[in-house]
Subunit: 201 residues, 2 copies
Amino acid sequence: MTVPPGRRERKKAATRQKIADTALRLFLERGYDAVGIRDVAAEADVAVTTLFSHFASKEALVFEQDDDFEQRLTQAVTDRAPDEPLIPALRREIQSLVRHCTADGATPIWRMIDESPALREYEESMRLRHAESLAKAIAADPDLSQTTTASRTIARFVIDAYSLAREAPDPDAALDEIFRMIEAAWAVTCPSGNFTGTVGQ
Amino acid sequence: MTVPPGRRERKKAATRQKIADTALRLFLERGYDAVGIRDVAAEADVAVTTLFSHFASKEALVFEQDDDFEQRLTQAVTDRAPDEPLIPALRREIQSLVRHCTADGATPIWRMIDESPALREYEESMRLRHAESLAKAIAADPDLSQTTTASRTIARFVIDAYSLAREAPDPDAALDEIFRMIEAAWAVTCPSGNFTGTVGQ
DNA sequence: TCCAAAAAGCTAACGGTTAGTGTTACGGTC
DNA sequence: GACCGTAACACTAACCGTTAGCTTTTTGGA
């Protein structure tokens, strides 16, 4: 990731990428359910066990950038300007992520996800993981003196915003509406009557 | 359910119950992962296919009262007193459900669930289903003129409250805190500056 | 009494996943 | 430059949840 990290790691990354690319291609060509793990492994020219040493499950092949997502969220909290309030920072990040998901190129993938119960379920549990990471980041911020419950609650609400906006007919408008609600929820948790911007519009 | 509904349905219900009881007993005795579907079927003295005609999956054996939960939630919306505000009604119901889950007799079951990734994942997707039912019930209430987005958002928040409170060290206190946030979020969605009770404490 | 249908059963398989066991290729060390 | 420990990969064979296909039993009503 940083510099040439040795041939071994480059080869490993290449293998991983080849598997992910092959899988996504086959899934989109023939449908997620119609493609077996053995098909993916054969087409990527690796053994099934190798595939599973790179990806924990069939579903994980589709959500390859899971970790990026998680990092971006926590960094939106930890790397924000020293005086920037929490919620608008999160809002910017969520908006960017939603736009990324609803971009034209991504629609076939999300259509596939929406059609597969297994993929939907996997995504849901991914979101919960992300919410927990986010909660940890919020709780760790010394500028915000929140209870554990408040941190976890806001984290869930923010992830909900992502999930709801992604599915909404007008994602931007939905995000507006939901974040107005989140602002209000956040405001009542601040011991000192902190303002965080526009609450009631 | 209503009156003696015929022998056939009674027998069917009995079979279902016997399977569920057997499964839960075995799971608690030996651990969820250590018990196979074939074990449950054999112990309940039914065929594997019969088991699957009553329960859609192994995980569903554990969440037998799924439907009750869903009904209680939607009825908390539809059956509330004509002038009772939405959020307190939901709060009462959630509190009752949380207490039910955190009662002494239920702890081994929830410990088992928390320890099994498969069960956690299943519960998460169950919650999403419940949130969607709840959203529908809220959207259908003529006394509340909400947007689709606001209904779905509040529904998610309420389900989050259940999930977070259930895991909190002090569920009642957590529920207080979270519902204060939900009240605030709800308040900003009301076109007419509706009050719904105590917002800022 | 008999029939249609629901419920339950049996067998055999499919597909994701893992354990067990080697084999190869690489990176650091002498 | 040879050497060794280890990480990556491969192969086989199985486990386990789940389903399809088909038969048998039970039940409610004609």
